[in-house]
């Protein structure tokens, strides 16, 4: 255990030492970035066009299976990416442990909740239209 001597017993107990997953965070941030490199231009172009025809046009756009799948992928990659990004911002600037934990938890919950709401709304529109 060569690394153990660099951590105080308190750190070990609290589990606040090295999380040993920085590489995973780094890779996921970039994998989602690469996905968004393709999804965001599609989303921008597509959603602006779809929204010109009001409720009916937007519903019809979401109801197309390809659009529905791409929308869910866009939401998935975006919420994953922004959760990772906000995590770093919180870790960088919030020093107080209790506030930091609360915000990290809120960050995760908010991102997942919003993804669930967005994805289920897409599926509802898609399935209701029956295309």
């Amino acid at each position: 255990m060569p690394s153990a001597e660099f951590q105080t017993p308190t750190k070990t107990t609290r589990g606040l030492g090295s999380a040993k997953e920085g590489t995973g965070h780094y890779i996921r941030q970039r994998v989602t970035a690469i996905a968004l490199l393709f999804l965001v231009p599609w989303f921008l172009f597509s959603v602006i066009h779809a929204c010109k025809a009001g409720f009916a046009g937007a519903s019809l756009w979401v109801a197309q299976p390809l659009n529905a799948v791409l929308l869910i992928l866009t939401f998935g990659a975006a919420f994953y990416h922004m959760r990772l990004g906000m995590q770093v911002v919180i870790e960088d600037y919030i020093n107080k442990t209790s506030t930091r934990f609360a915000l990290l938890l809120l960050n995760t919950f908010a991102a997942i909740a919003a993804f669930a709401a967005a994805a289920l709304s897409v599926m509802k529109i898609w399935f209701t239209a029956g295309l």
Binding site: R14, L37, F55, V62
Partner: protein, 134 residues
């Protein structure tokens, strides 16, 4: 000492006042600023798609907010934020992958380009959107 009130003694990331303003530093700061802005924007887009799923009434309410003056300004700022974060994010991927663009002159030039891309790109997108088809 109450466990939940324990404060990390390690230093925090340096804040804004530490830095001298220059193009690469501004691009780095704005990458984070736009990232945080887009975080908020994602929840507004979620509200939009949820309203679309709820039906015509809720959707028209959201549409009214989007077409109001504050809504339009917010949408325009959001577009600039997306474009900047997109271009600067691509630059990050190029830094990480091929490892190109690190020399100061090119790094500064790309930073300026990314700002210009955001400003003129947003203008191009919304003028195209209002002039082409309907």
């Amino acid at each position: 000492m109450a466990g939940s009130e324990w404060t990390d003694k390690r230093p925090l990331s340096p804040h804004l006042q530490i830095w001298r303003w220059h193009a690469t530093m501004a691009a780095s700061i704005f990458h984070r600023v736009t990232g945080v802005g887009l975080y908020g924007g994602a929840f507004l887009i979620t509200a939009w798609i949820v309203a679309l799923g709820m039906g015509e009434g809720p959707y028209e309410f959201i549409e009214g907010l989007i077409f109001s003056l504050p809504g339009q300004i917010l949408l325009y700022l959001w577009t600039m934020a997306v474009l900047f974060h997109f271009a600067n994010g691509l630059r990050h991927l190029i830094w990480d992958g091929p490892g190109a663009g690190f020399d100061p002159k090119r790094a500064s030039a790309v930073s300026v380009f990314n700002f210009a891309f955001a400003i003129f790109g947003a203008a191009a997108i919304w003028s195209a959107a209002s002039f082409i088809g309907s």
